[in-house]
């Protein structure tokens, strides 16, 4: 195989936290230190970074391929600079057996342009009653275990699942939310929800859920990741757990970093996500926590929904937003507003998720897979949702001005997308 040298680029290295003008060599699909170049690719002074590793993408196979397939998700990921998809098991049926996991894996292999790894459900049918075959699922390739937004309410079931997962070294991903308080809620309680009269949940529900999960992690010693921390109230609990030395990490969705509850305005259901958008104070708190490294990972929480499930009265409308293609430009808002540097951003988008899952990607060191994105952080554009590659077009950023576009995406050294 020929080697390729990408020259004249600003290289964003999340490990060393640097941005330097230089070049990078790809050989046999890996990043190489040698300089036996045959082909060169002029980066024209743009930016090169490790591809995004997105924990928690929903690809609607099996069950709802009309909303998103592995093919369409792969195209969207490549166009958005996501080189590794970590897919969710909240499909229909849930991915809770080695057979369904293998089906999803086969489909991904056949149709998806980027790397994919499947997560499996923690309990059968995501019902919170019996744990899944964690061992078999791990053997079949499950990279982590989660019931997604279905919180395991029975603490005995959860503590046993955590204990069993610990013995296998499996990562468990929780959705910190108190199921009682958050029942039926479609907004965060406060002035906005009260005026719009949307059933609301106190932000305290997140802290309650997190505190409970952390107590069980302390008890069982399991490896735990909180999928989305979106409130200021939950941050001290997370900080304490980390100081205590628990094997805990936490993520935040791109929507909670860049939008707040007022964006819902007159019942715009494309802004309905789970957990609901928070106050501006909460948004600022999670941005700071991301900058300080208390929050580890940014996720797209890509959740395709078709028009029919969104064009309903707000309470009845489905939750979730597509985000694979808006993840990077939205995240770059934090860079343009001077809240995060580019290396900090890619630490949360690429390096940290790869490290948490034990993957070799997400970095630019020698021998790492050449999963790379070339992008221009300044290029402005107006987002048109009908130009998205996702089958579902439910993005809250429709019609908004954004800055930052992917110019090319490489997976294992092969170009899978070029603008």
């Amino acid at each position: 195989m020929k080697s390729l040298r990408i020259t004249n680029v600003h290289i964003i290295d999340p490990e060393r936290q640097t941005v330097e003008l230089g070049s990078l060599t790809i050989k046999h699909g890996l990043i190489s230190a040698e300089d036996t170049t045959v082909l060169t690719y002029d980066g024209q002074g743009k930016y090169l970074a490790p591809g995004i590793v997105d924990i928690g993408t929903k690809v609607c196979e099996p069950g709802e391929r009309h909303k998103e397939s592995f093919r369409s998700a792969g195209l969207a990921a490549a166009a958005g600079g996501v080189t590794t998809l970590i897919t969710r098991p909240d499909t229909d049926p849930a991915i809770d057996s080695p057979e369904t996991l293998e089906f999803a894996g086969r489909r991904a292999q056949a149709a998806c342009a980027v790397h994919t790894y499947q997560m499996a459900a923690l309990t059968k049918g995501r019902l919170g009653r019996e744990m899944t075959e964690i061992g078999f699922l791990q053997d079949a390739g499950a990279i982590a275990f989660t019931d997604c937004d279905a919180v395991v309410t029975d603490t005995k079931v959860l503590s046993r699942a955590l204990t069993y997962a610990r013995q296998l070294g499996a990562l468990v991903i929780g959705h910190p939310q108190d199921p009682g308080l958050s029942k039926g809620a479609a907004a965060t309680s406060g002035k906005f929800a009260s005026l719009q009269a949307i059933p609301a949940v106190s932000p305290m529900a997140e802290r309650l859920g997190l505190e409970r999960d952390l107590a069980l992690v302390e008890m069982t010693g399991a490896k735990y990741h909180a999928d989305q921390i979106s409130t200021a109230l939950a941050l001290p609990a997370l900080e304490r757990a980390k100081q205590q030395g628990l094997d805990v990490t936490a993520g935040v969705s791109i929507h909670h970093l860049t939008l707040n509850e007022f964006d819902v305005a007159d019942y715009r259901s494309f802004f309905k996500v789970k957990p609901p958008l928070r106050s501006e104070e909460d948004r600022q708190a999670v941005v700071s926590a991301l900058a300080s490294g208390l929050l580890d990972i940014i996720s797209s929480m890509h959740t395709p929904q078709n028009e029919e499930s969104k064009r309903l009265p707000y309470e009845q409308a489905a939750s979730g937003a597509v985000a694979l293609e808006t993840l990077l430009p939205a995240a770059l808002r934090l860079y343009h507003s001077d809240h995060l540097s580019l290396p900090q951003l890619f630490r949360a988008l690429s390096l940290n998720p790869a490290n948490r899952l034990g993957l070799p990607c997400g970095r630019l060191s020698e021998g790492a897979p050449a999963d790379l994105i070339l992008f221009d952080p300044n290029s402005p554009f107006l987002l048109d949702r009908f130009q998205l590659n996702s089958k579902s077009k439910n993005t809250p950023f429709d019609g908004q001005r954004m800055q930052g576009r992917v110019l090319a995406t490489f997976v294992d050294g092969q170009k899978v997308y070029q603008r």
């Binding site: 039926g184 002035k191 009260s194 719009q196 019942y267 064009r311 009265p313």
Partner: protein, 318 residues
């Protein structure tokens, strides 16, 4: 004034509110004479779409439409196409294709009437959406207050009871705030919406304290059907602490009026004797003003619509 729809009080300015009330005042007087019917809405089709049970509001809209000469059609939506799986938007589009002039909608979900209004080209009147807004109720309450008190500003008004689950309370506190009144909310903490103090109202959990020196006592129905369970310990404890009786009412100004949007739960939120005391209670007048306010609102919406149509006709065609 160019209102196309009446979806809530929030989008109205004080001048628009006053204009509606002035016209309603005129209709209220007319309704008391024998020449109460007119042909303002002659040839107009009015559809009442109620996705939630209602007797009085629906009757009030129907009478208002008929007095103005509209062709009124009632659709009970609870049992029909919704059960067959039709979405709200499809229902709206279906009706729109029949070219009505006015659609009056009540829906159990907040924001549903806004959504429907985006999809039709006739005028839409919100007759209550979830806990969100019930604009004609707030307008009829305002008219009742204005007629009893002689003004609609600088009054102390207490709204009492289940604020959290009440669209009547939301529309009223917005309207009364816009007209520069002091609004107090009285009720148990479990029935207060979060963050409500940020809206410039005073919150009281002690009813006697809350009623001190008020000009208007506005009671709300304790909406048992809205309760997920467990907001209050029992009806009798609620009546003891928040039911309006003579002792609590004595804290208000001697000429304070008592209002209730109905239907009343006598012995739960209001003592029967007070409800029937014609020197204090204006509950029957509220119902009367309801017809007048709805006539005024429909008159204005249809007039605006006709004007729009006339203007678009004059535009040169390509």
């Amino acid at each position: 004034m160019q209102l196309q729809h009446l979806l809530g009080i929030q989008p109205l300015n004080p001048q628009q509110i006053t204009e509606i009330l002035n016209l309603a005042d005129h209709y209220a007087d007319g309704n008391r004479t024998c020449s109460r019917n007119s042909n303002v809405l002659a040839g107009c089709t009015q559809i009442n779409m109620f996705f939630e049970n209602s007797t009085r509001t629906q009757a009030s809209f129907e009478i208002a439409g008929k007095r103005l000469g509209a062709d009124v059609m009632n659709m009970a939506m609870q049992g029909s196409s919704i059960k067959k799986g039709e979405t709200l938007i499809d229902t709206a589009l279906t009706l729109n294709a029949m070219h009505p002039d006015l659609i009056v909608v009540r829906h159990p979900h907040s924001g549903a009437v806004d959504l429907l209004a985006q999809k039709v080209n006739c005028s839409v009147l919100n007759a209550g959406d979830g806990w969100h807004e019930h604009p004609t109720q707030a307008l009829l309450d305002a008219l009742t207050i204005r007629r009893s008190k002689g003004r609609l500003h600088r009054l102390n008004i207490a709204i009492c009871g289940d604020i959290a689950h009440s669209r009547v309370a939301r529309s009223n506190l917005i309207l009364l705030g816009k007209m520069e009144n002091r609004v107090r909310l009285v009720g148990p903490a479990t029935l207060m919406p979060a963050g409500i103090t940020e809206l410039g109202v005073e919150v009281y959990h002690d009813m006697e304290e809350g009623l001190k020196n008020v000009d208007v006592v506005m009671m709300l129905r304790l909406q048992r059907e809205r309760m997920d369970g467990g907001f209050i310990p029992s009806e009798r404890e609620y009546y003891h602490r928040y039911g309006l009786d003579a002792a609590k009412l004595s804290k208000a100004k001697p000429d304070a009026i008592v209002m209730h949007p109905g239907p009343m739960n006598r012995g739960v939120e209001i003592d029967g004797d007070i409800a029937d005391d014609l020197s204090r209670s204006v509950i029957q007048e509220q119902v009367e003003m309801g017809v007048a306010v709805r006539m005024a609102a429909m008159d204005i919406l249809v007039r605006n619509r006709r004007q729009d149509l006339r203007e678009t006709k004059h535009e040169p065609t390509l």
